[in-house]
Structures are given as structure tokens and as C-alpha cells.
Amino acid sequence: MSPISSWFHHYANPGVFLRLVRPCLLPLGTISVILLMTGLIWGLCFSPADWQQGENVRIMYIHVPMAWLASACYVALALCGILSLVWRHPLADRAAIEIGPIGCAASALCLVTGSLWGKPSWGTWWVWDARLTSMLILFFLYLGHITVIRAFDDSFRGQKAAAILAIVGIVDLPIIKFSVQWWNTLHQPDSISLTATPTISLSLMWPLVLCTGGFTLGAITLVNTRLCASLMERQVQFFSRRGK
């Protein structure tokens, strides 16, 4: 067995995973709450209003982290799909079940907050431009994944179909990311990039960075807590069945 495979299968053991992850949950959760509270209070109460959007700009402190989370969760979902299909990793399928709803909620919040921002700024709740449409497709992919992974009596078949769906859906992510560069859209291009100076004032950017970090750590904590709970639930079922 190759070193990579043995490493995978070491952590595939639920007992090892629980021993490793459970002690990290409380510190992780605490850090994420602190980050999130700082970022949100700073962003919603103290950061300056934008010169033309006014106070509406504060929707960004929820909208941008949610858009990022929706994409990041989908990458995690697709990685779980690959781990499940190629290496038959038993934890990957459990993780995919737990990641789906969180990513779905993030994409829904991204669409709702974007719509609430769009009405006063653009003058419309919704347009079928490339960015908005590809994000809506991501939301539908999440809904499909959540449904498919629970749809079969034979859970293995459901997990296999969901893994394929998650991997196929990954083509939507570059479309979401680059839609504002490839085609002209109503949605504005990215303000923060790796190569150029941010076109967002630092007094607006720092709270945004804190909120994004807080939401990301919070989501990681949430997924791992759900995963631990589901593993322990399975252990309880196993022991109670053996006890009969």
C-alpha cells in the first residue's frame, strides 16, 4: 500500500478521526465567533459608508463571505466525491452529507443578499447575467446533491451518484469566478485580486477580511461538528444493535 493510501486509511478510522478532531472544535468555534463578532460589529457599525451606495454597502459583509463559502464548500464537496469514487474513502461520503446543506445555505444567502442589494443599487431584484445565473446553478447543484445522496435505500448507490454529481458540477466554479471577466455582466468585477491593488478602500476591506475569515472558520467548525455527531450516532446505533 502506498504511503498516501495508508495515510488516507489511517484517518478513515472514525475513532482516530474523532480523537483528532473533537478537541479542536471548541477552540476553532471560539476563534471563529471572535473573528465574526469583530468583523461584523466593525463592518456594520463603524466602517464608513460608500460614497454612492451609502449604507447599502454593508450588505457586502454578508454577501461576499457567503459567495466565497458557497464556492469553497463546493470544492470540498467535489474533493469528497473524488476521494469517495477513487479511494472509496469511508469518511468522504459522511463528510459530503454534512457539507451539502451548509454550502446550500451559503449559496442561498448569497443570492438573497445580492438580490436585496441589487434592488436599490441596480434597480432590479434579479437579472439573467452570467454571474447571477451561474451562482443560481450552483444553488441548484447543492439542492440536487442534498437530494440524491439521501434518495436511495441503498446508501452506497446514493453516495456514488452524489459523488459523480459533485464532480461534474465543478465546471460551474470557474464559470462563476471568471464570468465577470469573460463576458460583460451587470455584476461588477472582483475588487480584490492577487495581482492588482484592491479597488476597495482599506477601511471597508479589513472588516470584510475578518468577516470572511470568521465565516470560513465557522463553517469548518460546523461541518466537523456535524461529522463528529454523525459518526457518534453511527457508533451508538452499532452498539445498541449489538446489545439486543
Partner: protein, 175 residues
């Protein structure tokens, strides 16, 4: 006849290769589809595109561009407005009846949904304001305007890297 175990790929490796090949095919297919439909995916046409390739009359198109400074006219006591939209090459006059979005102003990018008339003017049913990627506090915008480095009516603000320098000189000039 069996091959040497070293040469024979494991089932995991086979699955990984099948997956990579499928993803490659899927990616190429998506690329080709998006490439073929790229003219339908664009959300709006620039005035020069509209002038070069006039759409069928009575076909609803989206016209995107910047509102020309000084071209905005509100007709008194009516909700009618007239303004010019330009991409720097061609300007098209837009007639619109209705409420303009909050972000609408001269120098702003807008998208007008409507029909190109026979007299080359544009009758809009809906006007959307487009926000650019610049987010700046009111104080910075005021300082830039005060220093004369930027007039919002003539286009997007200067490069963000220069904001501090520009607003700093403004204080020297206007104590």
C-alpha cells in the same frame, strides 16, 4: 499470461485515470458550448456594436455604456428623461419614462433595456445602473473631487493605489 505486478495499475489508479479523462472531456465540452454561445451570454451591447450590427427593429436589446456628462435632461413635470450613452466611440440617445435607480448619474455605467428606433435613438423600457468594482468612503470621494483629481461625471475614479497620495495633496492645497 499475467503481467508483472509493478506494471499492472491498481484499480485505484485506473479509477483515477478514468476520472481525469472524464473531467478533461467535460471541461472541453463546457468550454466549446460557452464559446459557441458567448454572444448570447454577454449581458449588454456597447453603442458602437449596436451601430455596427443593428438588431432587427422591435427586437428588445440591452444597451450598456456610460452616461455622457451634461446629456441628462429631465422633462419638467413628467417622468420622461433623455440621456446619451457612450462607449467612447459612439453615443446613442436614450429616451426613458419611469423612475431611475438610485445609482443613476452622469458618468455612471448603465444598462438600458429597450428597442433601437429608426432614427437611431433608443427607447428604453427599463434602465439599470451598473456599479463598478470601486468601493470608497464618502470622505475619500469628496477629497478626490475637492483636489480636482477626479470628476465623477467623466468616468471611473483614479487607480486606488493613488488615493492616499491624491487626497494628501488636496489638503495641502486647501487647508
Amino acid at each position: 499470461m499475467s503481467r508483472s505486478p509493478l506494471l499492472k495499475p491498481s484499480r485505484k489508479t485506473t479509477r483515477l485515470w478514468i476520472l481525469c479523462a472524464s473531467l478533461l472531456c467535460l471541461g472541453s465540452a463546457t468550454f466549446l458550448v460557452l464559446n459557441a454561445f458567448s454572444s448570447n451570454i454577454v449581458f449588454f451591447m456597447a453603442p458602437s456594436q449596436l451601430r455596427d450590427h443593428p438588431p432587427h427593429p422591435s427586437r428588445v436589446v440591452r444597451l450598456g455604456g456610460m452616461v455622457v456628462a451634461g446629456s441628462l435632461h429631465h422633462h419638467p413635470n413628467t417622468p420622461d428623461t433623455t440621456f446619451d450613452v457612450t462607449d467612447g466611440q459612439v453615443a446613442i440617445t436614450v429616451h426613458y419614462t419611469g423612475i431611475l435607480p438610485d445609482l443613476f448619474r452622469e458618468g455612471q455605467s448603465v444598462v438600458a433595456v429597450g428597442e433601437l428606433q429608426t432614427d437611431q435613438s433608443f427607447k428604453a423600457q427599463e434602465v439599470l445602473a451598473k456599479h463598478d468594482e470601486t468601493y470608497m468612503p464618502k470622505e475619500v470621494a469628496d477629497a478626490l473631487k475637492r483636489s480636482g483629481k477626479w470628476d465623477p461625471r467623466f468616468g471611473p475614479p483614479p487607480d486606488a493605489a493613488s488615493w492616499n497620495r491624491m487626497t494628501a495633496t488636496s489638503h495641502d492645497q486647501h487647508p
